[in-house]
């Protein structure tokens, strides 16, 4: 009798659970009906102040909320009109005159003027604000000196308002990629009256970015921001190009955990994911290739070599190390995400620039080089440590390369992993022999990959220095008369870099995401740059990304 009671209780409890779970309509179904895009956005945004934030998730949200002077064509990545409807560049390449469109409006109806840009850029350069991307302004005349407080008077910085709708920008050197920078969030305008209403211009983290307060000039406006839950944006009726905007809104979902994100996608909660778990790539490729969007990304995976380390100061040793890595094998058997092996430092076809292949996988030549350097068959080569930041992916690659070096060169490599911040500290202090690294371009131009290797550059960290390289990157390339000449100089510089090998390129990153078939208007490009106003949803398509249920259950697991 008693056991009957308990059985009843347990059964009741189970019933309670099951009745509580009527699935309801999925986000994709309601989203397609109401024109709301559900976007998996990686980690939660730290802030929504364009002059404070530093990450990719913030970038996605801010390009929906704000708009710079110049946009990019998502197909070619060439500059396209934004708030500025046209611009002129002086013949010496130093003076840019922007003509702002008269119908550009803030989301409260105020006109967007040249004063807004001048003030915003002044704000972005206030040291107290702690803008970690302030260096994006450095091509502008005296911007660096102003940030470092060597110049106190902002009128000496090369930004000048000619009239309400004309802005003149003077650069210290011709900077052919300057227009590319204008689409970076650190150069976005912010609404002065709003910021001043909620605190000082250079106050970090005032309340102006909260929903209800935020005033932007982008195609969408902020309606909701719940930490770790969602950021909602709705179509901005004042946006100058509102007629083009097809979506009624976007919900940015924080999706830190890629496995969970993939499950959300599969159950119809997301239209677009920020990433995809590595072990799922092959499954999608096999069963649902139409959902997997994968294309090269403007970033690379490489190893830094500490050229101050005695046995690594000989470039033949560094070349030998590079030539004994089988990049093809790494991308096919280790990373397995459709990456391509890198034999140049700048990813191929960066706005039309492709460097000459700098090295190849050639174990025999590598052995020879190592022997020439005094280590025949690796004899006498000191045990060398390979440092990487703790991550399963980095470990696998490191283990593979450790084996290759041992097999082809006979050298002994030990592995050391460190927590991210500790690792950054070690690399920054030159406290390493060989260290894993990655670099994502800030803009599409080879310069973002090459100017980091100048002598003493903040991102160099290898101790490498070459006078000709510095001259090419700092003096000759910027003053080149046209793109072709400039790319030639860049090619020469990159050839020096790849001959000297302070870094070993391993593979070019690849951007991977899952895209629901109802989402239209995405244009793949190496920047992973999305123009939200071009996106639309096919309302005839409902629910999960797969055609039928059985398919979904078995296809992916």
């Amino acid at each position: 009798m008693i056991s009957n009671k308990f059985y009843t209780l347990i059964i009741l409890f189970c019933l309670l659970l099951i009745t509580g779970c009527s699935g309801g309509e999925s986000n994709v179904t309601t989203g397609n009906r109401d024109g709301i895009l559900h976007w998996g956005n990686g980690t939660d945004p730290q802030e929504l102040d364009p002059h404070i934030v530093t990450g990719v998730p913030e970038h996605h949200i801010l390009t929906a909320l704000l708009e710079g002077l110049v946009l990019k064509d998502p197909a070619t990545l060439e500059p396209a009109p934004g708030v500025a409807e046209r611009w002129e560049v002086s013949s010496d390449g130093k003076i840019y005159t922007f003509h702002l469109r008269h119908n550009a409006r803030w989301s409260n109806g105020d006109p967007v003027t040249a004063h807004d840009f001048a003030w915003s850029w002044w704000r972005a350069l206030q040291p107290a604000l702690g803008n970690q991307y302030a260096y994006m302004f450095f091509p502008v005349k005296n911007a660096e000196a102003y940030l470092n407080q060597e110049i106190k008077d902002f009128s000496q910085v090369g930004v000048k308002v000619l009239d309400n709708y004309t802005l003149r920008v003077e650069l210290s050197n011709p900077t052919p990629y300057f227009l590319q920078l204008l689409d970076h969030y650190s150069m976005f305008p912010v609404h002065r009256p709003t910021i001043e209403k909620f605190g000082a211009a250079d106050e970090r983290g005032s309340l102006w970015t909260r929903p209800g307060n935020f005033v932007g000039n982008g195609p969408f406006m902020l309606t909701e921001w719940q930490l770790f839950k969602k950021v909602d944006v709705a179509k901005n009726p004042y946006y100058w190009d509102a007629a083009t905007v097809k979506l009624n809104g976007i919900r940015f979902h924080p999706t830190e955990n890629v496995t969970t994100e993939e499950r959300m996608f599969r159950s119809g909660q997301l239209h677009h994911t920020a990433s995809i778990p590595i072990d799922k790539v092959a499954v999608y490729k096999k069963n649902n290739p139409e959902l997997l969007h994968s294309h090269p990304y403007l970033g690379n995976y490489f190893y830094r070599i500490n050229t101050k380390s005695p046995h690594l100061s000989d470039k033949r040793v560094r070349q030998a190390l590079a030539m004994s890595i089988n990049g093809q094998q790494i991308v096919e058997q280790v990373t397995k995400g459709g990456e391509v092996p890198a034999y140049t430092f700048t990813p191929p076809d960066t706005l039309g620039y492709t460097a000459k292949r700098g090295f190849e996988f050639n174990p025999e030549k590598a052995r020879q080089l190592l022997a020439d350097a005094g280590y025949p068959n690796g004899e006498g080569f000191p045990v060398t440590e390979l440092l990487y930041n703790t991550s399963e992916g980095h470990r696998k690659i490191a283990v593979a390369i450790q084996q290759m070096w041992n097999q082809y060169l006979g050298v002994n490599i030990t592995l050391n992993n460190q927590d991210w911040k500790v690792y950054l500290n070690s690399v920054d202090n030159g406290d390493y022999a060989i260290a894993r690294a990655g670099w994502i371009g800030d803009y599409v131009d080879p310069n973002t990959f090459l100017d980091m290797w100048i002598t003493g550059g903040g991102n160099n960290r290898t101790g490498w220095s070459n006078a000709r390289y510095d001259e090419l990157i700092l003096k000759l390339a910027p003053t080149a008369s046209d793109r072709e000449t400039r790319y030639k100089l860049m090619t020469e510089a990159e050839a020096i870099l790849l001959d000297e090998m302070p870094v070993i390129p391993i593979y070019i990153y690849n951007s991977k995401s899952l895209v629901h078939p109802s989402l239209k208007g995405l244009t793949p490009n190496i920047l992973d740059y999305t123009v939200y106003k071009n996106l639309s949803l096919d309302s005839s398509y409902q629910g999960k990304p797969f055609n039928n249920k059985n398919h979904s259950g078995e296809a992916v697991h």
Binding site: M1, T54, Q132, G205, L227, F228, E256, T259, D442
Partner: protein, 311 residues
């Protein structure tokens, strides 16, 4: 009783001070600062950031400043979320984590106590072995395995419940609660089985049966009261454990709770956040231990007697 409570509260203060001090210095000893990044940041900006968060002051001054803030209930601004204070972040995540912990506790108590009592009624029979083996499995199975398994079965195959979220879609709180609660349910099952077994062999149970009371009255009225004392003693620390241990479940189900701060803050070297959450959780644990001690004293006549004798 009152003196007992007061003395326990006073004991908590030095404990918390030690926690604060150790954490404060440990996080600052760890290599890598909160503003180090892969892309080099202009030194002027780093300087400004350090000044903004008082990291340029001598460390003892920072420490005293922090203690002063703490006394005023301020945990300070978060380094990682520039627009938020640690108080705000904790206040935002706590209700969600508390709700999750509450449901998990409910799951744990209902399943655990039922299974334990049920097993204790017929010890060393299949009625005992089956729930107890299940409990052993539950204790052994970590939530990072349990969660995805449940999601796969109930979220993706049967499509009964959403795979993630909290309060967005109907039924999305079920799986996280079960995942988080199951380990504790298993533990509670073993505790209540042990407690019940001991009580059911007591003389007063035999008396109750001899009086001719129905078996369910014997179990529910006379047996449970004594049998659940070890369970009650465990509930306080368990609830604190659920609150501070929800990180894995919150990550699996994308729940905007407090647990994730705790781990991520350490990776980000978000000093104020690490300290804030540590102090907060330490306080909770002290508090819940105290509560469960009080309840134990209150329901256990033996302890109550000892306390009276002891004063």
């Amino acid at each position: 009783m009152f003196r007992f409570i007061i003395s326990r509260v006073l004991q908590a203060i030095p404990v918390l001070l030690v926690v604060v001090t150790i954490t404060f210095f440990l996080v600052r000893v760890a290599p890598g600062g909160p503003f180090s990044a892969e892309k080099a940041v202009p030194p002027e900006v780093i300087k400004a950031l350090e000044a903004r968060y008082h990291l340029d002051e001598p460390i003892w001054q920072q420490y005293l400043g922090y203690l002063n803030d703490l006394v005023h209930g301020e945990f300070g601004p978060s380094f990682r979320y520039p627009g938020r204070t640690v108080n705000e972040l904790i206040a935002g995540g706590l209700p969600i984590t508390a709700e999750l912990a509450f449901y998990a506790m409910l799951v744990a108590v209902i399943i655990g106590v039922c299974a334990g009592v049920f097993a204790a009624l017929k010890p060393n029979t299949p009625q005992d072995y089956i729930p107890m083996s299940a409990a052993m499995l539950g204790i052994c199975m970590p939530s990072f395995l349990m969660g995805p398994l449940l999601v796969l079965v109930f979220g993706i195959w049967f499509e009964w419940v959403p795979v993630s979220g909290w309060g967005d879609l109907p039924g999305d709180k079920i799986l996280p609660a079960i995942t988080l609660g199951s380990g504790y349910a298993a533990f509670l099952a073993r505790l209540s089985r042990g407690g019940m077994l001991e009580v059911m062999s007591q003389d007063y149970i035999r008396t109750a049966r001899a009086k001719g009371l129905p078996e369910w009255v014997v179990v529910l009225k006379h047996g449970l009261r004594g049998g659940l004392i070890p369970v009650v003693a465990f509930l306080g620390p368990a609830f604190a454990g659920l609150l501070s241990g929800s990180f894995v479940v919150e990550t699996i189900f994308q729940i905007p709770g407090l647990g994730r701060f705790y781990v991520q803050a350490a990776f980000n070297r978000d000093y104020t956040m690490i300290l804030g959450t540590t102090v907060f959780f330490a306080t909770l644990i002290v508090l819940f231990n105290l509560l469960s001690d009080i309840v134990s004293v209150w329901i256990n006549p033996k302890l109550r007697h000892q306390l009276r004798e002891g004063k």
